[in-house]
Each structure stands twice: as structure tokens, then as C-alpha cells.
């Protein structure tokens, strides 16, 4: 029972964590990426189609990452070069990509809602001998796919990138003080664009995880707002990769719990809102605590 919940929690965490790491980098670079959900959706669809046509999951992942990055590039150029407001553009992209996906399903596959394709190449699972049979530890470390491992490896890598590398330093500078960065001869807008493309790439992978990692089916509502949960996760993390992963894990846990609680007398629709409701509760509690620490100005 516990093993099942742990395993399911990690499964539900992966897409949120991937997108949150991308969004975190993007935010440190100075853009709050509201459009993560659209990049996830694009990645999910592209990965699904490529996995069916070629039967190659690595190719599907690459295509998903690139398509997410492409959506992000369009979005970021609108923000940095055309000076559009990031909130509006992000929301716009979410609606736009959802509409395009629906249109594409209708015209290319003559279907709406869900898409079923044959011979989907699913992400392989990595079972680790010996460990797999140990309770709890087995559930934590064994039986996960490559993307889950990748997502968690990215957490310390992101921290190292930000703290120790030249691009990480310049990214932080571009986000915190664009004018000062520019005065030193760097282009903060280009740096921001690069961070957006990275966020798109990570979100595209997150989408691929949903379509070819978990189920092997694609539907219009496959992201279920996880791009926004990723947003909540990196806000929760306040710019720190480790804490951001905790935020993602929290959501994953409540999502797994929600599945467990279904069919126990409470209406399923209500139970399904649990992880989302908990996100609101947690963010509220955190900001209340932060306010208390600051000492509220009257």
C-alpha cells in the first residue's frame, strides 16, 4: 500500500518537476512563464505521434523537447522583442496551443478529445535488482523510467548551474538587474530568450512523459493544468531548485493520494480537486508565514 502510494507519487511528480525546473530557470532569467502548460501540451502530442510513427522513444523525447522549445521561442520573442506583457502572452499561448491541438486532431485524425495510435513506444522502466524487493526503498529507487531519473538529476544540476557557472551567473544578473547587465555589455534579452527556450524544452519533455510515459494515450486535457502547478512549485521554491522539487513532490503526493481515495464514497470529481486545493492551501500558508516574519506594515 505505502509502496504503491510512493511509486504513484513519484510518477505524478515527474512532469511537474520537469516543467518546474524549466520555469525556475526562466523566472530567474526574468520571465514568469505562464505558458508552460501550452509547451507541455505541444510536447505531449508531438511525442505521441513520433512514438507511434517511428516506434522510437528517444526520438519522441527529442521531438517533444524541441517542439516545446519552439513554442517557448515564439512566446519569449513576443515578450522580449515586442514588449508584450508576459502574463497576457502566456495565457494567450495556452489558449492558442490548445485550440491548434484540437484543430489538428480534427483535421489530421478526424477525432476529438482523445487520440489513440498504434504501436506507441513507451518509456522503458529501469528496474534495479535487489533494491526492487526492499520495501519503501524499492518503490523510491526502482521501477522508474528515464525521464523520472532525468528530472531528479536535473535538480542538483540546476543548483550547480545557477551557483557556479558563467551562464548561470549571467542568467541571475539578467533577471535581477537587466539595466546593470546591459551596462556591462551583455544582452539581457538574449539571455532571457535562452532561458525561455530551456523552459519550453523541459515542459515539452514533461508533456511527453504524460503521453508516452504514463499511459500511452493522448487527450486534449492531458496536462490537466500541470503547467500551472509547475508555476506554483517554483514559486513555492523561491528560486531554489531543491525546494522547488519539494513543491513538485507535494503535488505528486496529493495527486497519488487522490487516486487512492477515489471510489471510497466521496464523489470522484471532488477528490480529484484535492491536489489543486492543497497547492492553494500550501501557498497561502507560506505567504502568511512569510508575512509574519517580515512584520506586517500597518
Amino acid at each position: 500500500m505505502i509502496d504503491n502510494v510512493i511509486h504513484a507519487a513519484l510518477v505524478m511528480t515527474t512532469p511537474v518537476l520537469l516543467a518546474a525546473m524549466g520555469g525556475l530557470i526562466n523566472r530567474i532569467g526574468g520571465i514568469v512563464n505562464i505558458g508552460l502548460d501550452s509547451m507541455m501540451l505541444a510536447g505531449a502530442l508531438v511525442a505521441f505521434i513520433v512514438a507511434s510513427n517511428n516506434g522510437s522513444w528517444p526520438l519522441a523525447l527529442a521531438a517533444a523537447g524541441l517542439s516545446g522549445g519552439l513554442v517557448a521561442l515564439l512566446m519569449t520573442l513576443t515578450i522580449t522583442r515586442l514588449e508584450a506583457k508576459e502574463i497576457i502572452v502566456g495565457l494567450g499561448f495556452n489558449i492558442l496551443v490548445a485550440g491548434l491541438v484540437r484543430f489538428f486532431l480534427k483535421t489530421a485524425y478526424d477525432t476529438s478529445g482523445t487520440l489513440n495510435l498504434p504501436d506507441i513506444s513507451r518509456l522503458p522502466r529501469i528496474d534495479i535488482a535487489f533494491i526492487a524487493d526492499i520495501p519503501v526503498i524499492g518503490a523510491v529507487f526502482s521501477g522508474h523510467d528515464v525521464l523520472t531519473w532525468f528530472a531528479w538529476i536535473m535538480v542538483p544540476l540546476t543548483a550547480l548551474f545557477l551557483a557556479r557557472t558563467r551562464p548561470g551567473l549571467r542568467l541571475r544578473a539578467a533577471g535581477a538587474a537587466p539595466a546593470a547587465t546591459q551596462a556591462l555589455g551583455l544582452n539581457p534579452l538574449t539571455i532571457r530568450d535562452a532561458s525561455s527556450v530551456f523552459a519550453g524544452f523541459m515542459s515539452g519533455l514533461a508533456g511527453a512523459y504524460l503521453s508516452i510515459g504514463v499511459v500511452g494515450i493522448f487527450s486534449e486535457g492531458i496536462t490537466a493544468g500541470r503547467g500551472f502547478i509547475a508555476l506554483a512549485a517554483f514559486y513555492f521554491g523561491a528560486g531554489r531548485p531543491g525546494l522547488t522539487s519539494v513543491g513538485a513532490l507535494l503535488f505528486g503526493f496529493f495527486d497519488a493520494l487522490q487516486i487512492r481515495l477515489q471510489g471510497r464514497g466521496v464523489p470522484a470529481e471532488l477528490v480529484q480537486t484535492l491536489p489543486y486545493a492543497m497547492v492553494i492551501v500550501v501557498l497561502t500558508v507560506i505567504s502568511l508565514a512569510a508575512r509574519k516574519n517580515r512584520g506586517v506594515r500597518s
Binding site: 557557472t165 558563467r166 549571467r170 539595466a179
Partner: protein, 499 residues
Amino acid sequence: MRIGARGVTRRFGALTANDSVDFSAFAGTIHAIVGGNGAGKSTLMRILQGMDRPDSGTVIVNDQPVTLSGADAAFGLGIGMVHQEFMLVPGLTLLENLVLAHEPVKAFGVVDKAAAMQAARKLEKETGVHLDWSMRVDDAPVHVRQILEILRLLHRGADVLILDEPTAVLAPAQIRDLMALLKRLRDEGRTILFISHKLDEVMAVSDDITVMRSGRIIRSMAAAATSKAELAELMIGETLLDIVAHKSEVGETVLKAEKISVVDADQVERLKGISLSVAKGEIVAIAGVAGNGQEELTSALTGLSRLRKGRVELCSVDVTREGIAARRAAGLAYLSPDRAAEGLCLTASIVENAIAGHHRRKEFLSAGFLKLGRIRHHVDALLDSYSVKRAASSLPVGRLSGGNQQRVAIARELDGDPACLIACQPTRGVDIHGIAFIHKCLLEYRDRGGAVLLISEELDEIITLADRILVIYNGEICGELARGSDVEKIGGLMLGGVR
């Protein structure tokens, strides 16, 4: 000549910020540029640093005329500037800020901290300063940030350093350290230009001094060949006054501040126990060079900010703990120095701006709804009496000229004759005609029994209007003078006690 200007003229609309400026600074000297607000010092420095371009005339570098396409181009010629607002990145350490954009790296783009630290130590040795390089800029006190800016310019190879009012934010001991650093850099052959209001430090550190006033160079000379008194005279110039006002009948005290102290976000004391009082029928002026505590005083008296110590009384009622609305209700009016951001809402209509704050009066309300017809009637009558030229009162107030905008603001504040008016820079950005009108409004209000606290950087204005003059310097009132006092005496007090 290391850096200079020939016939540089720069105009901003009707304002000539630099008028055929000739300027020369030589390698291995400290050259101070002094002058009042709006004298054109900052414009000239921005031109020398490539951030602004002259309309005519040319910048000279190493005796050659050059066209600087931007700050980068100037930097290529060894010219760097420390701005009043520091160009440092919060969240990064001092070391990270030092090397940003020129980071030494190891494999995988990892910043070579040891190499960066070595560069920092080398700079420390060269300049004789010591910094905690692992500190984040946010935690660094302001003088450390300034030193960091200077070191960064050196690190990047600048040998002409332009500093815009470097001492404005520093305490006396820190100023001495900075001056010692500047002298050391000069002795190594660098050229230092610095803007200052403070004549003591100018006399103490510079080799050459250039005085600017109203966009022109008044005189350039060796520091040894002049005196503080002469500089003060050159800076202030002749004041052509047309004093029309005379002392009026003074009644009971309306506004009273007792030993008020204010600290800023860094816990630095900006007002150091100021006491003052303004009575019915008098205009009390606060004279001083910008940045000596005028803004803090205004915020403290109007209720925009909190006091650390002291008390504020309005009409004999303690309002120290009251907010803005309560103070206004007690009879305080406030003419903001910043029309665009604080005084008016430029996108709202003239009527809305003129009635704002008075809209809660019973005569303009009916069951919670505004009586728009009545308001319009009232505003039109009010604005006509202030001769506000307007096509229609429903237009956005931003469509009016600066002078007419200020008339709207002053009409609103004096509507209903408040007990006390705090007027900050009431004629900023207003032409001569408008200035005379606004002065007349303030004097008439005083003669009706109003109490005015006038905060202005225009000495002429203060001399024309004020019945008493309080001089503010470094957060303290350093002198009080009566109407008709010697201009030079006021100027001397404003500049830190030259008498």
C-alpha cells in the same frame, strides 16, 4: 588633455542643458565640477561618457575630437562612470559583480573563483581597500557598493573615472576614505572627474575646479587659485530679485514638528531631530541643496512615512500617529513636487483631478453617488479663478501644459482654504509667467491667514516668498534667517556652513 569638450551644446526641448561648453581635464588630475541643480553637470558627464550625444560641438579624448556612439565606445577609450544609481546586480556577491561579463572560467563554464579572487586581491593591493568579497551586494553598505563600482571600472581597464555626486550617500568618515582612494588613483596617473555640491570636499581633494550654472561653464580654475566663498558666489550667481511680498500678520501656530527623526530602509538616519513651526499668516521656507532631507521631511509631515522619533502637531492636535487622510481632514494640504506621479493622475480628467480629495464633501454626494453636475460646476468656477487654460474640463489633465497642470494642482489644494499648505517645488517645470502666478497664489493664501511650509531648491523663490528661512543640511536645520537676509549667507549655509 585626457578628456574634454569643445563647444558642446545639448538641448532638451526648450531647455538648453549645455550651452557651448568648453571643458578640459588633464591626465593625473582630480577635476571637480560644481554647480546647483540643473546647472548641466550631469548632462556634460553623460556626454563625456557616451551615454548622451551633443547637438553640436564635440568630445575630445587625448587631444583628438571623437564621436562616442555609446557607453561601450567610451569604455573602449578608457572612460568609465559611476552613476548615482549604482549599476550592481542584487543577489550576486561582490566578487560575482566584479567579474560579471568578464568571468574567468574552468571546464564546463564553471566560474574560476580562485582566479576571480586573485584579480580582486590584486585590485585591493593596488588601491589599499579591503572588501568581504563573499558578501552579497544587498547586504553591503552603500560605501562598499561604491568602492566596488570603482574597482570594477579599474578591473575593466578604465583610467578616466567619472563620479556623479559620489559623496551624496556617504558618511563623513567614508567620504575621507573615498577621497584618499581618489587621490591614490590620481597619483597613479588616472584622471578623475567628480560632480559635487559640497565645497569642503571639493577644496580638499581637487586639482582643478569647474563651476557650471544654467548650462554654461562659469569658470575653470586651479583649486589653489580659489576659495570656498568665491565658489559659492560663482555657483549662486547674481540674484535679480523683485521682492513684492512683505511680512504679514502672524497668528497662532498651525503646523508644529518636534524633534522628528526619520530613518531609511537601511536604518540610516535621514532626518536628525528637526523641529519647526509654521503659524497662520506666514510662509516658512526650507532651503537646501537637494537630497539633504527635504523629501523625508515632506513625507514625515504629510504622513506618507512614519517617524522614528518626535511628534507632529496640526492646529494643536497631535497627529503623529495619524495617516494621510486624517491629517488632510485636520486641515493639511500638500502640493507634491512630482506632478506626474504623485500630484495628479495624468490620464484622469481635469474635473476628476480637481475634485479628488474633496469628493467626500456632503455637497457633492447624494446617497453615496457623486453629483457630477454639481462637481463640474464647482470645478469650472474654481479653475476659472485660477485662469487654467483648457479646451474642456473633461479632457485628461495630461493634455494641459506643465504650468496649467500645476495650476490645477494648486487650485485643488487651496480649495476650501486649508489651515496649512506644504508646497514642494511649487514652480518646478513652470515658465516665468506661471511662476509669478503661483507665487501670487501662495502670497494671497498667506494673507488670508494660511500657513505655508515652502520646500524649494530655487533660492530666488525662497527669497521672494519666505517670511522665515530654515536651511536644511544633512538632515538637520543648520540655520534660521529672517526675510531680507543676505543671499550669500543662505547659500553658504546650504553648502554646509560656509559663512
